[in-house]
Amino acid sequence: MIGNNKQLGLSILACIAVYGVIQTLISLDVIGSFWQLNIVLVCINIILAVSLNLINGFTGQFSIGHAGFMAVGAYVGAVLTVKFHLSFIIALLGGAASAGILGFLIGLPTLRLDGDYLAIATLGLGEIIRITILNIPYVGGASGFMGIPRYTTFTWVFFLTVFTVLFIRNFINSTHGRACISVRENQIAAEAMGIDTTKYKVMAFTIGAAFAGVAGTLFAHYFYIAHPASFTFMKSFDILTIVVLGGLGSISGSITSAILLTFISAALASYPEWRMIIYSLMLIILMLYRPQGLFGNKEISLKMLGRLMGGNKRGTTENHQTF
């Protein structure tokens, strides 16, 4: 569809523009290291949130072990650069592949479970991954993996974020994405309509895990160190909060929410307990009064901005813009 390609072209231009502006500001030192750190974190959180949204929001599988996949990506990536002296790109690919493969292996047996059981199983698996890493001296064990070179730059992180968003957006707006969504909506009906629900649950899980792995590699190569304590279920809850606030099933929601919550976290960095209390209250209040979060399962679109002056919002899975 011509309209779709035009919109795609426009958003690509917008991305390049945003990149250009921010990168210039960084090079000119207008944006200092504190803000640089947070921008990098925002991008990493966007990747984490959008990938988790694919699993939880679009396919309706309640996974709360996402930090485990991030950890795998972080450690595998670090091993590739530090121990094997390979390039960053290999580390990224390795991080994605290892997390993805693990996601596939885990997903296959556990995605037979439903709702609460799946949640607990993924939580448990995330913990098993973390505890296993804790017990491997080769990667530093309980002291963590140190000496990771800082290969992550704003350029890397920005374009990987754009790639992630585009990948998942395009996946969703295809028959494969629709199949995933049908699993969320009504699994029995989806099966009855000829959709291999297990295949799509595992597919969403694998893709989500792979991108979490990318985020992990980026994370480890920015902070010089990978430590098991960064990948506990608290981290999984953090990502879950971002997704829930933004709206389960909305990519724009995840992006907006990631930006918001990363900066709120930064602001509250000196008061970690208050941060957790605010997060927990937010989760509770959201579920009680606005369970669809900020955007529900809708996306920001140029059409929608135009319609904000009275008119009904319709939810479609076609023709979505994210900027």
Partner: protein, 297 residues
């Protein structure tokens, strides 16, 4: 003296038994709540923590002795459990399951970090409300506090079984967990029954919290996370929603953990719990004593 394999085994079994009793007490709360409203109450482990702290303040500030403090801890925890259900879970009774799960996670985090703010993250030392006497049988050591744990847990479980099987309220609880709508039509006040279930479950968890405080001497606001998760695994192991299952699962869980810790390595003791969970969920999700329920198509 040489520690033979059998002696080590018996020692770990004894350790496992008292650990398992703790897990059983907590697991009962999970299983009763799940049985009645199909909710995994993520915040339950933190009620255990709250019980420990109430007991702590009862013994240090109010200078109560063991049993009055235990009673107070159980009552306060019961009230908090009922409050949480009324404010956070009841409004979502008919909402999608993910929403309630997320809320439960939120409540859990709130209790943990609220606790840190209120009572500081520093661990507190429990006063010696129950003198520890050590009995040795050859190489095997049994602590009188372990006996206390076993005794109190057993007593509470017996009382619970009596309540569930022989009283009217117990019958109502069983009815609601079997078929909520039918129970409503029979005139049972479902809301009240659910509140009572939360109250009982929370009281049991609080008892476990105090017992742990007495035995290990140290409590902190995040103490409920791991035991909570493990007790949940225990409930699933025994058959979630089935009360005897929670007891069996809890004891089994404790014994397995003690054996892993004693014979393999203590760093893997936590992982053992999760591994059990995965295995159970993959091969017999209804647990040892549970039954399969089908969704109507």
């Amino acid at each position: 003296m040489d520690f033979t394999f059998t002696q080590q085994l018996i020692q770990q079994l004894i350790n496992g038994l008292s650990l398992g009793s703790i897990y059983a007490l907590i697991a009962l709360g999970y299983t009763m709540v799940y049985g009645i409203i199909k909710l995994i109450n993520f915040a339950h482990g933190d009620i255990y923590m709250v019980g420990a702290y109430v007991a702590f303040f009862a013994t240090t500030v109010l200078k109560l002795s063991f049993f009055p403090a235990l009673f107070l801890a159980m009552v306060v925890a019961a009230m908090i459990g009922v409050l949480i259900e009324k404010l956070a879970y009841r409004p979502l009774r008919y909402a999608p399951r993910i929403a309630v799960l997320i809320t439960a996670i939120g409540v859990s985090l709130l209790l943990e970090y609220g606790g840190i703010l209120l009572v500081s993250p520093q661990p507190r030392t429990f006063p010696a409300v129950f003198q520890s006497k050590v009995f040795t049988f050859g190489n095997i050591v049994v602590n009188s506090q372990q006996v206390l744990i076993l005794g109190v847990s057993l007593a509470l479980m017996v009382i619970l079984t009596y309540v569930v099987q022989r009283t009217k309220i117990g019958k109502a609880m069983r009815a609601v967990s079997f078929d909520t709508d039918a129970a409503k039509l029979m005139g049972i006040d479902v809301d009240r029954v659910i509140s009572i279930t939360f109250a009982i479950g929370s009281a049991l968890a609080a008892a476990a919290g105090m017992l742990v405080g007495v035995y290990y001497n140290s409590i902190d606001p995040l103490m409920g996370i791991m035991p909570g998760l493990k007790a949940f695994v225990a409930a699933v192991l025994g058959g979630i929603g089935v009360i005897p299952g929670a007891m069996v699962g809890g004891v089994l869980m404790g014994v397995i953990e003690a054996l892993v810790s004693g014979f393999i390595s203590s760093t893997y003791r936590d992982a053992a719990a999760f591994a059990i969970l995965i295995i159970i969920l993959l091969f017999k999700p209804s647990g040892l004593l549970g039954k399969n329920v089908r969704e109507k198509v």
